[in-house]
Every structure is written in structure tokens, then in C-alpha cells.
């Protein structure tokens, strides 16, 4: 099998990966791996600061990207994509994280949405006030936006920008797959399904859905390197059950019913991986500290560039700009922190930024307050909110001047049953349409047609993003795991993990 694969795609080279074994790759993929923009990923850790707590977590975005290419192609082979589509998919998988920020998601947050800035004198009070508001307004929402394209500032959009502006990468893609593949790869990386139909919609889903190659690789890889067991799931069974189904001019990635248990296991393991690794109490505070520093620096254009400078000058410009971007990795973050300890720079800094930076540089974290943790797993908004509001930590929030609280949450799946989704969709859509009718903008019949069309679109996007079951290859029987009585997700959808903890901000 491997020899056939190698011949068809001309996979002359191989690399030994401790997660997937030998991974084979082509000349074009070798050229991409040789590019400095790709090699930059060698200096960006997949799990940012997790290696301080799970010392084995030293893996980088570089090896993860190669892993995603490999998994994406396994899926492609199973569902019968032809060689030319597989070449495009492999390159997209390889390039999908090329726009990642230093420390992965930690440095990305302030580039996507401006974080609230707090004044030095009331820092703890302001942070805790925000946490209290989040608790008071806590709701398990019904998600209704699916398969949405990454926004500007998101690492995926940055990746697409890199590809569009870099002549060397474009030439490699063009020579391997043709010119039209450049835009398709960008759409695949950003998750844009508006421009694609047929098989191309499938390519987007393989990199951007609840069952994508990205998630499969990182679950396995993060577990392998952290030493946890959550990466152990029936991957072969899952891929073996994958199929493609035609639906309204596009193709949907789905699984046969005998893959349901493997899919359930995958989602549950992902949930535990968040609970035990990503939301580990030490990792949470370390990342919080780093985010606050980066948010301040980015806002003040101190070390970290503003979004427009990063995107328009570093990536849009020539020569000097690109060199700066090549150095925009984990080392950049640590160098920036080092500068905060130098006397010239430190005079301009708020004390808390200097203090947080100093702590991180000496491998220290803000101390966790014993007994302050409240961990709740529930499907009920009221239960979660009530339990949080009854907690000692919540009650102390308004009084704390030297402690801060952090609230994390994670749902086991983004999806709800079709019935619940339909109710939520029509509740808000109907109100919109009633208002339009009242304002005499459109007549009732036109609006009814519009609502139905919008609902069909929303349903299609929901199926693309979720893990779909297909019975007997019939598109009319496509449904998500949470709508299937054979799946645990039928019982577990809406299950949400919430973690509230407190830390000493100042000794």
C-alpha cells in the first residue's frame, strides 16, 4: 500500500515521526519544508508553555504540520480523491499553520480582538469584575454560525496572506498543482466554503471541521508528547468509515454508522485533553500571564507590532519586512520579555507587566490559591451558573485586591440536535422577518421563502462542520452524531466543562 501511494504521488522522501511512523513526501513538499517561512515553525511550540508542566511537550508546529499533511492524505485516499486533488490537499495540510504566532495561540489573542486593558491601580479588581460578569451572564449557547472563514488577524488568514504574497511558495504550488490551486489552498486554510463547490468543498472540510486532519493529528501528538493517554482512539476505524456524500452541489465528509463509536471516543478524548492538559491549572495561569504581557505590548507597539504593521509591512512589504517576520517566533517572545527587565525600557512599563515578565523569565508562575478551584461539568446553564455563584471564589471576587480569578469553559461538541438548532434559528430569523415586514420592506411570501433558503444554507453548513453519519450512502439521511441514538453525543451534547480558579497576583 505504501509503495503504491509513494508511486502515485511521487513520494520520494520520508521522515520518521514518533506519532505516525514514516511519513512520505514529494519533491514539492520537500521544497516547502525547505522554505524559511516553513522552517520558522520549528521555533514555535505547539503547546506554548505546556512543556513547563508536561516536560515532554516540546513538539513544534513544524512536525504537527507534516502530521496534518499525512492524516489529510490518509482521509483523501480512503474517500477516493484523485491524485491532483490529493496533491492540493497535502500542500494545504503542510501549509495550514504557516501563519502561526509566537507561542501559538497565546500571542494570537490580541491580534484577533482587542483585549480589555486595565489600569495598574485597579488591575485585580477589573480582572475579577470581568470574571464575575461572565459568571452572571453565563449561558450554554446554541451555536448557529458554522464553516465561517477565519477573520483578519487569525493565524489562518495570516497563513493565506503569506501564500498569496510569497512568490517562492506560489511557484512551488503552481508547478505542482496549477495556478488555480493557490486560491483553493488559501480557501482551505481559512475555511472559506463560499467560493467552492463539489469536491473542493470536501477539501475544505478535511482541514476544517469537527473531524479534520488538524484535530486528529494534534490530539494524537499532544498526548504522545505530554505523556497522557488521550491520543489513544480508533483512528484506523474512524478513517476506514469515512465517505463522501453529494448534497446540493457540494460534497460532505461523513462516516458510516460503524464509525460512530470511534467518533464518540475521539470527541470524548478531545474533551479530556482540554480538561487535563490545556486547562491544567499551571498552564492556564502561565498562558494568562503571557497573554497580558503581549496584549499590553501590542497595544503600545512595544516589541510586538500592531496588526496592520504585521500584515501590511512585514508580510506585505519586501526584504526587511519578511526578515522581521521570520524572527517572529517563540524566541521573539522571550527576547521581548528580556527587554522589559532592561532599565531604559522598564521605566515606561506598568509595574505589573514588569513583574509578570520577570516571573516568566525566571520560570515562575502566579501562585494558585488552594481551595479556590471549582470544576463543573453539566448540560444545564442554570446549574453551572448557580454553582459558580455559590462558590467561595465568586463571593470573594469583589473584595480581592491582590488575587485574580480565571474562568475557562469548553463544550464537548459545538453542535446541538437538529430540533434544537431549528428552534433557535427560526426564533431569531422570524423576528428579523417580522420586523422587515412591519417596516414594509418585503412582503410575507418573499420573507417566508427567504427564511427557508437561509435555513437550508445554515443546515448545510452545520452538516459540513459536524461529524455526519450517512446511512446507505443516502444524502437525505445525513445527520450529525447528536441526532443519532447510537451515539453518546445524543446524550452528551451541550455537556460543558467550566473551571473557576484563583491565583495570588502579588505576594
Amino acid at each position: 500500500m505504501e509503495r503504491e501511494l509513494a508511486k502515485e504521488l511521487n513520494l520520494k522522501h520520508r521522515i520518521l515521526d514518533n506519532v505516525h511512523g514514516f511519513i512520505y513526501y514529494s519533491d514539492a513538499e520537500a521544497q516547502i519544508m525547505d522554505e524559511l517561512l516553513f522552517k520558522r515553525l520549528q521555533s514555535i511550540k505547539q503547546l506554548s508553555l505546556a512543556n513547563w508542566i508536561f516536560p515532554g511537550s516540546e513538539h513544534t508546529r513544524f512536525v504537527h504540520s507534516i502530521g496534518v499533511m499525512h492524516i489529510a492524505d490518509r482521509i483523501a485516499e480512503k474517500i477516493g480523491l484523485n491524485t491532483s486533488k490529493r496533491k492540493v490537499l497535502r500542500l494545504a495540510g503542510l501549509l495550514h499553520d504557516i501563519g502561526h504566532y509566537p507561542l501559538s495561540h497565546v500571542c494570537e489573542f490580541p491580534y484577533k480582538k482587542k483585549l480589555k486593558s486595565y489600569s495598574e491601580g485597579t488591575f485585580c479588581k477589573d480582572v475579577n469584575n470581568e470574571v464575575a460578569k461572565r459568571i452572571d451572564g453565563f449561558t450554554i449557547k446554541v451555536e448557529k454560525d458554522f464553516m465561517v472563514k477565519a477573520n483578519k488577524g487569525h493565524h489562518e488568514s495570516v497563513g493565506a496572506l503569506i501564500i498569496q504574497n510569497n512568490d517562492r511558495i506560489k511557484t512551488i504550488i503552481k508547478n505542482e498543482c496549477g495556478e488555480s490551486a493557490i486560491d483553493l489552498i488559501c480557501d482551505m486554510i481559512t475555511g472559506n466554503v463560499e467560493r467552492v463547490t463539489g469536491e473542493d468543498a470536501l477539501l475544505v472540510q478535511i482541514l476544517h471541521s469537527e473531524l479534520d486532519a488538524d484535530g486528529i493529528d494534534y490530539l494524537r501528538r499532544d498526548a504522545a508528547f505530554s505523556g497522557t493517554s488521550f491520543g489513544s482512539f480508533e483512528l484506523d476505524q474512524l478513517i476506514n468509515c469515512m465517505k463522501r456524500v453529494d448534497l446540493n452541489g457540494s460534497q460532505i465528509l461523513a462516516i458510516e454508522p460503524k464509525g460512530i463509536a470511534a467518533a464518540d471516543q475521539y470527541l470524548i478524548n478531545k474533551f479530556f485533553s482540554f480538561s487535563q492538559v490545556i486547562f491544567n491549572k499551571h498552564i492556564v495561569i502561565l498562558e494568562w500571564m503571557a497573554e497580558r504581557i503581549v496584549a499590553w505590548m501590542q497595544e503600545k507597539c512595544a516589541c510586538f507590532p500592531e496588526q496592520n504593521i504585521l500584515l501590511n509591512e512585514w508580510l506585505g512589504g519586501e526584504g526587511g519586512g519578511l526578515e522581521k517576520y521570520l524572527a517572529f517566533n517563540d524566541n521573539f517572545f522571550w527576547n521581548a520579555l528580556q527587554k522589559t527587565q532592561e532599565s531604559d525600557f522598564s521605566r515606561a512599563l506598568p509595574k505589573f507587566i514588569q513583574s509578570l515578565s520577570g516571573k516568566l523569565l525566571s520560570h515562575q508562575e502566579l501562585k494558585f490559591i488552594e481551595g479556590s478551584e471549582y470544576k463543573i461539568i453539566s448540560k444545564s446553564t442554570e446549574d453551572i451558573r448557580n454553582e459558580l455563584q455559590a462558590s467561595y471564589t465568586y463571593k470573594e471576587l469583589p473584595t480581592w485586591t491582590n488575587n485574580i480569578a480565571i474562568l475557562n469553559e469548553k463544550k464537548i461538541t459545538k453542535h446541538v440536535t437538529e430540533e434544537k438548532f431549528k428552534t433557535a434559528f427560526f426564533e431569531s430569523a422570524q423576528k428579523e422577518n417580522d420586523d422587515r415586514q412591519n417596516a414594509s420592506m418585503e412582503n410575507k411570501d418573499e420573507l417566508t421563502v427567504a427564511i427557508k433558503q437561509d435555513y437550508q444554507k445554515a443546515l448545510g453548513l452545520r452538516l459540513m462542520e459536524g461529524i455526519c453519519i450517512v446511512e446507505n450512502g443516502a444524502p437525505q439521511e445525513l445527520h450529525l452524531l447528536c441526532d443519532d441514538n447510537r451515539s453518546l453525543m445524543r446524550q452528551l451534547y451541550d455537556t460543558t466543562l467550566v473551571l473557576l480558579r484563583a491565583y495570588k497576583f502579588e505576594d
Binding site: 491580534y111 480582538k113 449557547k141 454560525d145 483578519k152 463560499e194 431569531s428 420586523d435 453548513l461
Partner: protein, 160 residues
């Protein structure tokens, strides 16, 4: 108004008080936030898809009714973001000269829709003609050719 944060974005963009019970205001805010995000003004992080009324976020619609008593002023933004915000505000400063022209809501919808089609739907090198044809095909109520051309120029100038 439950969501003061979103209301403050609307107030800054359209120079009038946001009323979440008015459909036109909600539509204008949808398009305004879509364009602000794409201009790199990091006020929010909503995902938009093409629905009947153009680029639209279901989550944003729900949030308009949700409690949030924070607010934002353009002074909270960087110089660059403030500049983009003002550019968009200027682009939205529009009043129809006669009954045949678009009202503000249609104008805003036109600008946002052209940008969405250009960036996400049509091939990257799509001509103005192709984009405007697609616009009128999807939105027959936006068929004023001269105004569509004007909106196209506005989009080009915003994103140049």
C-alpha cells in the same frame, strides 16, 4: 439596550443611537462590524456567511440582545484602527438624493455585499462587471448600476 458594547460601535459608526428593536439598525450594525473586522479593526470576532441579506452572523444577532455593559470608544483603539474606523464612517455617511436612490440601509448592504463577494465568493481576479452582475443577481433590490459602481469604488478605496 442590553448590549452597550455593540451599541457603542454603532453609535461611533453611524453617529446615532442604536435601537436593537429596529431592523435597519441591526442590519447596518451587521454590515458595519463585518467591514470593521475586515479592515483590521479588532472590535469583535464574529464569523460571517452569505445569507439572503448578505454577510451575516447569527451569533452577532443573538449578542445584540445579550447583556454587556462595557462600551468602546474610538479612542480606545490604535491610531491605525481609528483611521480605518473613520474611513468607514465616512463611507457610511450617505443620504439618498431622490426616491430612486438607496436608503442608508441599502447603501450599507451594497458596500458590504460587494466586499464579501469580492473577497470570498468570486475568483480573486474577478472584474468589476462580474462582481456587480453577481450582486444584482443575488440581490435584485440592489440594481441601481450607478450606485453599485460608486459602492465598488468605495470598497476599493477602503481596502486599498
Amino acid at each position: 439596550m442590553a448590549n452597550k458594547y455593540l451599541a457603542s460601535i454603532y453609535n461611533n459608526l453611524f453617529d446615532q443611537r442604536f435601537d436593537c428593536n429596529r431592523f435597519e439598525h441591526r442590519l447596518e450594525l451587521q454590515k458595519g462590524i463585518y467591514l470593521l473586522q475586515d479592515l483590521g479593526v479588532p472590535v469583535s470576532e464574529y464569523g460571517f456567511s452569505w445569507y439572503k441579506h448578505g454577510p451575516y452572523s447569527q451569533t452577532l444577532l443573538d449578542d445584540m440582545y445579550r447583556m454587556n455593559d462595557a462600551s468602546i470608544s474610538t479612542e480606545d483603539l490604535s491610531d491605525y484602527s481609528q483611521e480605518q474606523f473613520l474611513k468607514l464612517r465616512e463611507a457610511f455617511t450617505y443620504s439618498p438624493l431622490n426616491e430612486e436612490e438607496y436608503n442608508l440601509q441599502n447603501w450599507v448592504e451594497c458596500v458590504a455585499s460587494i466586499h464579501f463577494l469580492k473577497e470570498n465568493v468570486l475568483p480573486r481576479a474577478a472584474s468589476e462587471e462580474l462582481i456587480l452582475d453577481e450582486l444584482t443577481r443575488r440581490k435584485p433590490h440592489l440594481s441601481n448600476f450607478n450606485l453599485n459602481q460608486k459602492a465598488f469604488k468605495v470598497v476599493n478605496s477602503l481596502f486599498s
